[in-house]
Symmetry: D2
Subunit: 370 residues, 4 copies
């Protein structure tokens, strides 16, 4: 396992879907940072299940208990551990769960890796439920970034092939991003909510599921964050983004569309604007050479449809080494995309926090007294 992420804003994730609790340890938060626990709760609620017809009926309050690292409302500088109890778990036939591999899930790959000892209840550690601790960590990262004028927001860029309009990568602003955060079904073009919901409902009725795309932006990020090579903004964001179950593609700026452009178009021309360097376009999504250039950061993550579906599927039973017909019962999300919006925002916040601190440490010996 690689349960650790980050070099400065350091995460350690733990927990299983139906175990006693899930949680995360965050090491590296500056001491004395006030934590707004209501703001944390608001972010958690955006991901929490049971609140929308597109989502699973499993009800979880997803209240985070901060076990360490906080004293009188401020961080102590010691590792901050946030835990979320699993309350609404249901038992099942574990032997069958262990033997019958759900297509599209981690079941078979995980079975081989862990020799069949992985927790089979609700996907165990592979569960999408583990994104709750990431949203918690993201909510802390956003508070740190917010104090410096960074705002992050996202919208549903597509569901099942219906595409929302895209951010204007030059003019996207904090107000627009904050407004999106307040929506349960965030779209740039609100007229698309109905057809998208209908598409999801149609899938649900057919015991099927559907995927989608999330577009996320960060504004107010200064130039100079990130590194060439292994610590590029794209490298660190994508490492984290692909940690989210269901994400299968990531792009920055115009992304794959850049592959069809001429350099004369893809290059974002620069000019001086009120004494500051600015680009006239933002095909590169705010990142050049792996480093932020002061323009809005824009990225997209494509999510595959939830693999848990009620329809009969062909699969195998490892206990008998035979083919089986499988029908997954239980509570599932016909479309995970609306709940995943805050997860992708959190990913971007965490990555930017970690990279911004990296940058600071390299400058430390220039600006501080040892």
């Amino acid at each position: 396992m690689r349960a650790n992420f980050g070099q400065h804003f350091k995460l350690t994730i733990f927990g299983e879907s139906h175990g006693p609790a899930i949680g995360i340890v965050i090491d590296g938060i500056p001491a004395g940072t006030p934590i707004d626990e209501e703001a944390v709760a608001r972010q958690m609620a955006r991901r929490a299940p049971g609140n929308d017809p597109t989502a699973t009926a499993r009800k979880e309050a997803d209240r985070v208990k901060i076990v360490s690292g906080l004293f009188e409302g401020r961080t102590t500088g010691a590792p901050l551990c946030g835990m979320i109890e699993n309350t609404n778990t249901r038992s099942g036939d574990y032997a069958q769960l262990r033997a019958r591999m759900r297509p599209g899930h981690a079941d078979y790959a995980g079975h081989v890796k862990y020799g069949g000892f992985n927790d089979p209840r609700g996907g165990g550690h592979f569960s999408g439920r583990l994104t709750a601790p990431l949203v918690f960590a993201g909510s802390i990262a956003r508070q740190l970034l917010g104090h410096r004028g960074v705002t992050i927001g996202a919208h549903i860029a597509a569901i099942g092939g219906i595409e929302d309009t895209r951010f204007d990568p030059v003019r996207v602003c904090a107000d627009e991003l904050r407004a999106l955060q307040g929506q349960r079904f965030p779209l740039l073009d609100p007229a698309l909510e109905s057809p998208m919901r209908e598409l999801v409902e149609a899938a649900r009725l057919e015991q099927d599921s559907t995927g989608g795309v999330i577009e996320c932006a960060a504004v107010g990020v200064r130039a100079g964050i990130g590194s060439p090579f292994f610590g590029s903004v794209e490298s660190v964001v994508s490492q984290l983004a692909f940690s989210v179950p269901a994400v299968k593609a990531i792009e920055f700026g115009d992304g794959s569309a850049l592959s069809g452009m001429r350099g004369s178009r893809a290059n974002d021309a620069m000019h001086m604007e009120d004494g500051h360097v600015r680009c006239l376009s933002n095909h590169n999504g705010g990142v050049t050479g792996g480093i932020t250039n002061g323009m809005p950061i824009v990225m997209r993550a494509a999510l595959k449809p939830t693999p848990s579906i009620g329809r009969v599927q062909r699969s195998v039973d490892l206990s008998t080494s035979s083919d089986v017909q499988l029908s997954i019962t239980g509570r599932h999300d016909p479309c995970i995309v609306p709940r995943a919006v805050v997860v992708i925002e959190s990913i971007l916040a965490i990555a930017l926090c970690d990279l911004a601190m990296d940058d600071a440490s390299t400058h430390a010996l220039q600006s501080e007294t040892i």
Copy 2:
């Protein structure tokens, strides 16, 4: 900077385009591994410049000198350092290079990050030339993987909008991948070479450049490699892939197309085949839950067009804080894609090596005597 990559097959990259040398230290190669230096040279030659009209005219032999970690043709278990001298460098007007920001390049972002002290000659450490050490590391990784029956190959999936056919993700095989390695302009549909070359030549004549897409596959990889969350195959591969200058999008399996599918299609049904579990389709590109499932691994990387173009561009001069018209002279690749094929293959090889060793260490206490 984050010059280190990997937890087991550990890389440390160094060097600048016009400095004395570029290189890489690889720590974690098992002692006693025979290194085939001719095979290394063959991989290096696939990336080396000066061999094709689509590429820069800069001639570099890109011969790797192994400085440590090798004795009598076998690895010693100590870190292996491979160095490549820079021979064909040209001096320029550094002051101007430092002040005039090339659009689409790392120039401005790097200037802010490094306070203007980054090496301005040929892009310094940001240069695509630094992918040569990655190809070297990849050539070692491929030898390790090759002994275990893993074969990696890639083709030009698109250049400037002209798309090659795609791998059959279920039936792609070692022979097909090896055959691609032998081609200087690897395509599944060879009839596309002419139109693609014409498109590149047209861009070159207009002092412009063009991007493209590379599709890469690995076959023979056993199930069970990778981890949920931060060490998922997609996380580790993408962290490394986005280290490659110009890469702006990554997808696995059907990638972004999965976002438009129903779960009933995206889920790869499983069945028993000669006593082994196999999927009937491979929309997930050989990775589910972040872990390999025994099917071929398939990924695509989209590359933006080379930002160095001769055409006049709008930009800024930081020494005067004024707008300027910039025309980049020198030797450039009108299309980096053919040379980048081996780079993407190397990325996948390195990531799989690192993850496979991760897996081994967690099983170590089960299978070995301490």
Copy 3:
């Protein structure tokens, strides 16, 4: 903070002495490992306070609740989180705790580092109470090592200047080490228990404290574990050992006494014994070139006296920037050494586990199919 330790058996520690709980996340335990929770409890009891006149009167059950990574008695391969609730905490005058710096404690150094925001209650994250999670991690490491024939044990080598005899570094055996584990006041020469206890009691009556030395050995460790340079056995063990509050010196084998020897004596001559290479002496404590050589591993850790003492001490009040006379009230250990024996054993177990897995991963590509 650097709350993470290890490259394979990876720890993340969290918690404060008077917060809701303390704990540790362990990542990298092989899936399917049976965990003997009674054996864990026995190790925890050896460190738990309130059981001996040399120790603090604070009563803590130190029962570990395993929150994740365990299913039906076996590890799942996912991160294992163990938590210990703090039950017997007492409130105090925090403002005063924050201002008045206890000599010998982390108070002042921590105040500067964390800008005064560190948790002042009971030393917060600096508390020796945080060694409880280390003992828990050590108890897991010992179970892993035990299956491979490794036994670890330690004794009180000195208290307040009274010295126990030392291990015979060639002949120390598993039975001897196991017998020591069963003792609350482990000594090689049991006749020293009375004078040592009297010395501690004398200190306690004078509201003072005393330090000591712990000698620890591991037998059954195969040759070939560890690395030259940064991953030497001594490097990894000492990094962890100096994490234990109060440890101020570490030595391996004959340690500092080696500095006064001739090479002809310090070099451990080798010979063949029943077909195996063995040393005739063990001045190097089982480690040469940073790597185990198959001989017993022997190390010693010197602990300073507990800084919490009732006697009046000169110190400063940061709220008034003035000198003060300070008398620490509350429950303290007049001598931490007996309770620290299991902590040092745990340190050695954790380090050996981590290093043994390191070794395995480098050999992985030789012995496994990727």
Copy 4:
């Protein structure tokens, strides 16, 4: 192998004693730092062999060639690679070197770890020659620290049992440390040079060797550097110090002597002095709770005698699995201690640099704009 050290001032070491070159990559040096190459050369000369009767007759200039990361005399922010060519190597009978295990050396342990593939020439990667790259890295660290008023110096605290006086841990000052740096045989009591040299010469004449102790201090280090637990100053310094071949014991402040003290003495009382908090004594060596407290940092490292001696020793031949009489020929140091003084200083400088940057990054979000 674990060839990497550090989280901010990050090292990667490579090379073998008789290979083409040895070197180190340093990642994390702030861009724009002027490098004084003459100062580097002075530090390298202090460790270089062939300059003193206590040392090996092997002559090496140990000139460092900076291969990357430097442009026009200043660091670029990219990884800095320093290489040292091996010029004065002698060939030998490798087969014999591989089979006959030198007592006290890494030979046997390394043979087992690396399956006999480790480079046998001159100890390969295990050679003390690899401390040259550490001195180079230390010389860079010292320049960074020097700009902030930190001075590091050391003396020979003992050779073969003859003990120099110790630093006054409260009053040791920069001038005293700088004066020691200028000496080839640095002692606080210069009268001891003759008896110490005689003792070494006597060992040499008997084809034997002798060990010693080095005491090292750093002054001008501000309070607040380091962390509780795994990143304590003692943890990080000792991890690095035990990387140095021959080091077998480390202590901080009064070290092992603290184990015999009462708390009332070991606790360093504090008072206000010109508005600053200062300790009246410094038994803790400038570190409490793992964090610097503003007092001088004082540590000692005990080195065992060089294992390479001409005297006949009992050992084994692995090619025949038989006992042999071994006499090591070649050029050896009868006493490594004088040359190791600068190595220990370098260790302390590197560790402090790395930790100081750690501290900075945690404060980054408080003091900088993201």
